[in-house]
Symmetry: C3
Subunit: 402 residues, 3 copies
């Protein structure tokens, strides 16, 4: 159980707050977005790896008004989009990239997108991130529910952060935290605040997302969340594999059912493939910690995504192994819910409620697996969690889309 | 009749134009929004109460691109939102606040809202003002009319002002006027211009709105307008009361019908209450001047809203005495129309037409009632206008929503 | 055949690229829109007519965030809107204006318009240009097609240019080229790039549009395009005439059918007229070059629009001779398609497909006809192309709108 305990330890470190940190307000009501940067040199930190954080605005096209925050840990360059739900656009570690090549080549300002367009698929006009937050009122495919058109995957990725604060711990290892505040508010309808934090450290090729959802209302509310975490080449390729400890796996729909036997392996880019999706009930350790791994065919490198099933009880594996140009990408998607329309998920018990003034925390840890040894260790952790009882493979979808 | 005549006099003063005024263009095609202010000191005015007017931009979240204009009369701080239909966000006079606490905590830039979302209730994503203009193509609940989805309360609150000009009279009492121009235009559909003016004076705790709607088209057009004037604590509270001279009162729907007996009194914050609405045909004096008053339980303080029934023949009383967090607020809403969908108001004769190149003026006077004496005087004015003939109480709603 | 050959020659000149040009990036991801200008003096060009190009941002109302690029050839002032699909707002040559007076008086930033509003007619809230690009996913009237609401005339006019580059040839005649890049992208749906170029020369009263559509996807895709070219007074007036070489003409609908006999002549401003539209299959010369002419009653002045039927096989004549205030305007609209909803145009063979990674070029040449002689020559060109075989006049519409 040691490997699993080490995962838990990792999360504990994340939640602990640094004693002394320098704060920089990057975005605020009285602070227009303008180019800015800070690094270890300016801070006088010479006791560890060099690092740098910078903010810049984007102009032209649907990028007008967008902003990017780049965190260079020295070992990995992380790009965050404060104007799109604090999404992580990409992470680059030398030649190894976490992220994918979407046909959407702009960092789209939400002001230019009508989420209701394209029959509720307007969300696709800006989708190109490594991590795209889905939620928090709902997730899933577009469709009517309780008299409203729910658009694809909710609004979180189309909420610009109201305030963004960067905190750098003044003690080694100079933990870096970037906190953005999202508001999902409508009179009589919803009053959610999401404190969206990204945490990393100089010298590392890993980062943690720690979101806190607060229902500011004095009425309970339904919510859903899904972390659409997307990987293309070089990790994804013909023969790449996915692994996670699972209680049950089932095909999302009839299309996925046809390829159920190979649900853990990926095709190379396949023009006209479209997508297959598998619904997974993951297993965690005693504290709920679970782990998903995507690695290349030779198991030389991969990525690990750790999360907690008490926070995010289900997981969608999105195999969009279409052509490179259309989008060759795998989605690792821990969530409260699958990707069916909300109207189909109540019967599955996957439309949770948050109580009046309640909070919910969601912690996800993304870690590069840079070597065969790192991949092997992660897969062993999964085997340990699976604990000798193979996942039940359910042949038919849990729900039927109209 | 003296009190009523004094009301009329007040309006007359407002309409009179100052002989000499200094003009400042705050927003214009060639003038980006930037922080700016002016006060009596800079103007060299030392013959009256101090005052100040300032403009500032807002950044971050859905506030990005919004602007606020603050007019401090010395006795009251008025905040106007030029980027949201020249709405009045709030008015603060010492500890006394006109306005309310909406769960919507941002001053939302219209660019970020799809009014058609939430089944036509997108308007609610930005609703937090003391005075929110509704209209001018239509007002009322969302629904189809003549092949279009009419969204809640029209677009006026989501029209940014094209130009904003501040005028300060160089003679005492140094009348302050803020004029914004709104355009509601679509080829073949509508060509409305709204000159939206706010007028106040140094030292006062009152302000006047004077809107002029112009139909620039050479075709007549339907129009509707409603001034959604919203008050929470401290004026609103358990036992607060509403009064106005009325010809007829009726419940908006079956829900309101249940509480018809108590239509003039307010509950304290009541979780799950939702709202009740009463439809009122107000009475005016010979020139049409009418008056609505909201005052606290002890009748120690209140607010008076004067308007003219020849301009705004009907009145909605919106009792949204839900919890503080959900929104504890009363709406005093003079209008051409009630809050039914436009399709239901034609039969009520409440969808007026404005002739080709015609204009319509709407003048509303908001005045703090800071003492028991002031409240008493205003209530006496109402009694005078009621003139001994009690309002007819109609038991059933005027229209049935689907 | 000389006149026709001269037209062809004109296009050839346009396509030829200058050997040496100075480039100026006006809009780019790292370049906020700001006031800028350049002219022949600054460039040290004294060997030809003076010229000037300038960029400026617009503020206030729905113009906030819009930009204008003005190209003054010395003989004509062209205004391009980079934030609205590189549309041409107007062209002014002394007292002669190409363009029209729309009730829409703002240069509307696409961020403020919901194209799905007004039953899919949201496009009309910003329509006021001389040339409005329609396409490139679809054109035509709003309506459902394959499960999506297609909004009026597609999105091209609501796509802000991502980058804009001005090139001025350093050799006489100092050809001026303005190239903007539009992206029409949605994951799994569309991946179009449009390189939209406007070309002119100092001293001329003509300009060329050369658009290149690229399907960046590895899947073929349907596309449609229509160049909505709009002319009001002084060219349009009572008795103004339209001419073009045509194989067939038919009324768009029953309304147009009533006035089929007079399809080539225009009424004066007629309140309540609305519009009539005629569908034309134009004739071209051996290389496909065709020509449309609009001229005033006395044939003293006009405008010629040259295009190629191999690129743009059909033509809509839009006779919107309503009142001056509502919009007195004629549209000359070469396109791949008519203005029916896309669902009606497949059967007409007017929904072409662009192959994976394919490109399509569209070249249009707009030329002022400043004299009776110029009008006469252009009409002779048309007669030559018609070649003695009169156009077939089809009495009934090609399609029936629901």
């Amino acid at each position: 159980m040691i490997p699993v305990r080490s995962l838990v330890g990792c999360i504990v470190v994340v939640v602990a707050l640094p004693a002394h940190a320098v704060d920089y307000t990057l975005i605020a009501p009285d602070k227009p977005i303008q180019d800015w940067s800070i690094g270890n040199d300016q801070l006088g930190f010479h006791d560890g790896p060099p690092f740098k954080v910078s903010l810049r605005g984007l102009n032209g096209g649907r990028q007008e008004g967008s902003a990017l925050i780049e965190i260079d840990t020295g070992a990995m360059q992380l790009t965050v989009v404060p104007t799109r739900g604090m999404n992580v656009l990409r992470a680059q570690a030398g030649a190894l990239r976490l992220g994918w090549d979407s046909p959407v080549s702009e960092v789209v300002n939400p002001a230019f997108v009508n989420l209701e367009s394209r029959g509720g698929l307007g969300w696709l006009e800006g989708f190109n991130e490594l991590v795209a937050r889905c939620g928090f009122e709902w997730v899933g495919h577009p469709g009517e529910d309780r008299g409203e058109l729910l658009t694809l995957h909710g609004r979180a990725s189309y909420l610009p952060a109201r305030t963004v604060v960067l905190s750098i711990d003044d003690q080694p290892p100079h933990r870096i935290s970037l906190k953005g505040v999202l508001s999902e508010q409508a009179f009589k309808k919803v009053d959610f605040q999401i404190d969206a934090e990204l945490i990393t450290e100089p010298g590392t090729t890993a980062f943690t997302l720690h979101d806190r959802l607060t229902n500011r209302s004095d009425q309970p509310a339904e919510y859903q969340v899904l972390y659409h975490s997307n990987f293309g080449a070089p990790l994804l390729g013909e023969g790449a594999r996915f692994a996670m400890p699972a209680r049950e796996v089932s095909p999302f729909n009839a299309r996925a059912q046809q390829e159920l036997a190979n649900w853990q392996t990926f095709r190379g880019p396949t023009a006209g493939y479209g997508e297959t999706v598998y619904n997974i009930y993951p297993l965690g350790d005693d504290s709920g910690q679970s782990l998903a791994v995507l690695h290349d065919k030779s198991a030389q490198r991969g990525v690990a995504l750790a999360f907690n099933v008490k926070q995010l009880p289900v997981f969608s594996l999105w195999k969009n192994t279409d052509s490179q140009t259309t989008g060759y990408v795998a989605g690792l998607e821990p969530g409260t819910s699958f990707s069916y329309n909300r109207s189909l998920q109540r019967d599955l018990g996957l439309v949770p409620t948050i109580e009046a003034r309640g909070t919910r925390d969601f912690v996800l840890h993304y870690r590069l697996l840079p070597s065969a040894a790192a991949v092997r260790t992660a897969l062993q952790d999964i085997t340990t969690l699976q604990n000798g009882h193979p996942a039940k493979v359910r042949q038919t979808p849990l729900a039927q889309e109209r």
